[in-house]
């Protein structure tokens, strides 16, 4: 699988009154052709900032302050305005979190499709645009007859599918989905993701999928990157990430949602609150909330390095394979004890 997009040491800063806040810090990853890469993490960890940076959608006070984004070998950060305009939507398109607000409420769906085709000189007349738009609606299972409806006449799930159809209108090579289903309920969420997967198989585009629902991500993605306060802390195959987590943060995330099957256990989540990015301590950023943190963790910042036959992790003491735990619950109990301690101290 050759790399479609390669991100190298990407840094994004927000300029605030109290100085620069680095929202994305030295992040590197690649997305292969036809691959689905997931980015997971808490709010404010920089997931969406990366997505915006890939399309260069940032406006001041946000600033891409370093690194490279190589799309098929060309650096997106060097594109001039016209190349960038062509690049957006035609090569890379994006589905935003709230489909309600990215459709124009006073124009019909048909006009909004026409707008896309016209802006990219894909059509010669309106009739051609209508034909193509109908075909796109068909692939997302919306009856053709609804083409001339206004956005408010659609339900939330249908609107999100219209937005996906629009994102696919110019056959992009990379589709960025920024929490596309967070506002929808579970049945519709699954239907939409199944549709996206089907379309991906058909047109072979790559997907960057962003959400904070790790179990959904495990089902949908090929590889998953876990982010914590602006840094990538772990990249692994999706199946391995919950079963054999390397980073304590991933372990915590994996134990933060109740399951439907199996024994009911008391869950602990992750103690503490996310880091304030304007005041970053030295050493590992997760050290303050980590149950394994040592002196070294508070002093030296770990780099993202590959582990033998497992993913990449940025941690001084990556977790061993679960087979090595005397009992997988010991770790959880550790967590519990620490949580209790921190409460007592508080």
């Amino acid at each position: 699988m050759s790399a479609l997009i390669e991100v190298k040491d990407l840094c994004v800063d927000y300029i605030t009154l109290n100085g620069r806040v680095r929202a994305v810090n030295n992040v590197s990853f690649t997305i292969g052709e036809g691959e689905i890469l997931g980015l997971a993490g808490e709010s404010g960890c920089g997931k969406s900032t990366i997505a915006y940076a890939l399309m260069r959608l940032h406006r001041p006070p946000a600033l891409i302050s370093g690194g490279q984004i190589l799309f098929e070998g060309k650096n997106v950060l060097d594109f001039d305005d016209e190349t960038l305009r062509q690049f957006r939507w035609k090569d890379t398109s994006m589905v935003f979190q709230s489909a309600m607000s990215c459709l124009n409420p006073v124009k019909t769906i048909e006009y909004q499709f026409y707008d896309i085709f016209k802006a990219h000189n894909m059509i010669t007349n309106r009739q051609e645009s209508i034909e193509r738009a109908k075909e796109l609606l068909r692939i997302v299972d919306i009856p053709e007859g609804r083409l001339f409806d206004y956005p408010h006449q659609f339900s939330g799930g249908m609107r999100q599918r219209v937005v996906i159809a629009m994102a696919l209108a110019l056959k992009p090579k990379l589709l960025i989905m920024d929490e596309p289903t967070t506002a929808l309920d579970v049945v519709i969420q699954r239907e939409i993701l199944q549709k996206v997967y089907e379309l991906k198989q058909q047109f072979n585009f790559s997907v960057l999928f962003i959400t904070h629902d790790l179990s959904l991500m495990v089902e949908f993605c090929d590889r998953i990157g876990i982010m914590y306060s602006g840094q990538l802390v772990e990249v692994s195959d999706s199946k391995a990430i919950l079963q054999q987590p390397l980073h304590p943060y991933t372990f915590g995330l994996g134990n933060a949602f109740p399951t439907l099957t199996g024994e009911l256990k008391v869950m602990v989540g992750i103690p503490g609150t996310p880091l304030d990015l304007s005041n970053v301590p030295s050493g590992c950023r997760f050290a303050g909330r980590c149950f394994k943190a040592s002196d070294q963790c508070h002093r030296v910042e770990p780099a993202l390095i590959p582990q033998a036959e497992r993913g990449q992790v940025a941690c001084h003491q990556p977790l061993p394979l679960p087979a090595l735990f005397a009992e997988s619950d010991t770790l959880l109990n550790d967590c519990n004890d620490r949580l209790q301690e921190s409460r007592d101290v508080g």
Binding site: S43, R190, Y197, H212, L214, E219, P258, L260, T261, G269
Partner: protein, 340 residues
């Protein structure tokens, strides 16, 4: 003093009914097609029957627009039921009209909202939010007593150090902390029934579990009676003893949570459970649904089972009349033609 009269432990012993709904039905008027045309109605809830208990949590599960929030809104007297009733401690809430009784009722039955960003006043500190109910309902004027109460409340909801948190404004707290403040507020008010309308759906996964644990603790240790409205049936399993699954304003399956989640019988419950993200499953598993149709708009004239159009096992009878309630196992009720 009121606080002494309402001794927690005596007040709601285990399994004492707090809120009870009987045949709860509500119609909303739709816009007329012309000013002389007939008025048509939308039936948002059709004949709901449920009981809530002290020390217990009832989860209300269903997709958006199925009437989950409407039922909580009727219980807080925001809407008035078209027919049927909700009673609180055996008394019909429609009969509560005098201002003193209304005040008591609203103190006892509180709602927690989905959006912790919109439910706290951004112009006031946390101290203001928590002090007001204590002043209004408990007449606490003594400075040091107030401080003690505030600190106790914040410690109970896990916001420490309390002194720092009190002086903060809502924007200085994270979503999870704000939701904790809101739960603290229900404690300050002294509510016994807490109607939580998707309290965790806007929170991060890592913080969500903490809020759920807090609710669990309030339920177990303080005997609060919770209604937990959600579309995430996995979290419902985590905190609720009883679950009721709503579809289009109808109760389709209800009873003991473990029964419902481990042994779902209604086709809609099965669909809902199959759609929950689960790392051990694959995204390609086909959903047990017939066609992906939209939820029907239920009107007082509609007949049959609301799920018939999407149900893969629909029979002729399903479009004819609404099935009767059947108890298929202890504490497991269902309303489906397959089980008549």
């Amino acid at each position: 003093m009121l606080a002494e009269v309402r001794n927690e432990s005596q007040w709601v012993p285990d399994r004492q009914v707090t809120l009870e709904a009987k045949d709860l039905t509500i119609d909303f008027a739709k816009a007329k097609s012309s000013i002389f045309g007939p008025r048509s109605y939308l039936r948002a809830l059709n004949s709901l029957n449920f009981k809530m208990y002290g020390h217990h949590c009832l989860a209300v599960v269903g997709e958006s627009g199925c009437g989950k929030s409407t039922s909580a809104r009727i219980a807080t007297k925001i809407h008035k039921a078209t027919s049927g009733s909700i009673s609180y401690k055996g008394r019909n809430i429609d009969d509560i009209v005098s201002s003193q009784e209304l005040r008591d009722y609203r103190r006892d039955v509180q709602m927690v909202f989905q959006d912790p960003f919109g439910s706290l006043n951004p112009l006031h500190t946390i101290r203001y939010h928590l002090e007001r109910p204590l002043k209004i309902y408990f007449n606490i004027t003594n400075r040091s007593e107030m401080e003690d109460r505030l600190e106790a409340i914040l410690t109970q909801v896990g916001l420490t150090p309390a002194k720092d948190v009190l002086e903060k404004f809502p924007h200085q707290l994270s979503g999870g902390q704000r939701q904790r403040v809101f739960l603290g507020k229900t404690l300050a008010i002294g509510a016994h029934v807490i109607l939580a309308d998707e309290p965790t759906s806007m929170l991060d996964v890592s913080i969500r579990i903490g809020v759920l644990n807090l609710m669990n603790q309030m339920k177990q240790d303080m005997g609060k009676s919770f209604m937990y409205i959600t579309h995430d049936i996995a979290t419902a399993r985590y905190i609720a003893e009883d679950t009721m699954v709503l579809y289009c304003g109808h109760m389709v399956e209800w009873g003991n949570t473990e029964e419902i989640t481990q042994n779902p019988q209604h086709p809609y419950t099965q669909l809902l459970l199959a759609a929950v993200p689960d790392p051990s499953r694959s995204i390609h598993d086909k959903l047990p649904t017939h066609r992906s149709l939209e939820t029907p708009m239920w009107s007082p004239e509609s007949k049959g089972c609301p799920y018939a159009a999407r149900c893969p096992q629909a029979q002729a009878a399903c479009t004819e009349f609404l099935p009767e309630t059947k108890e298929i196992a202890p504490e497991h009720f269902i309303r489906c033609h397959l089980f008549v």
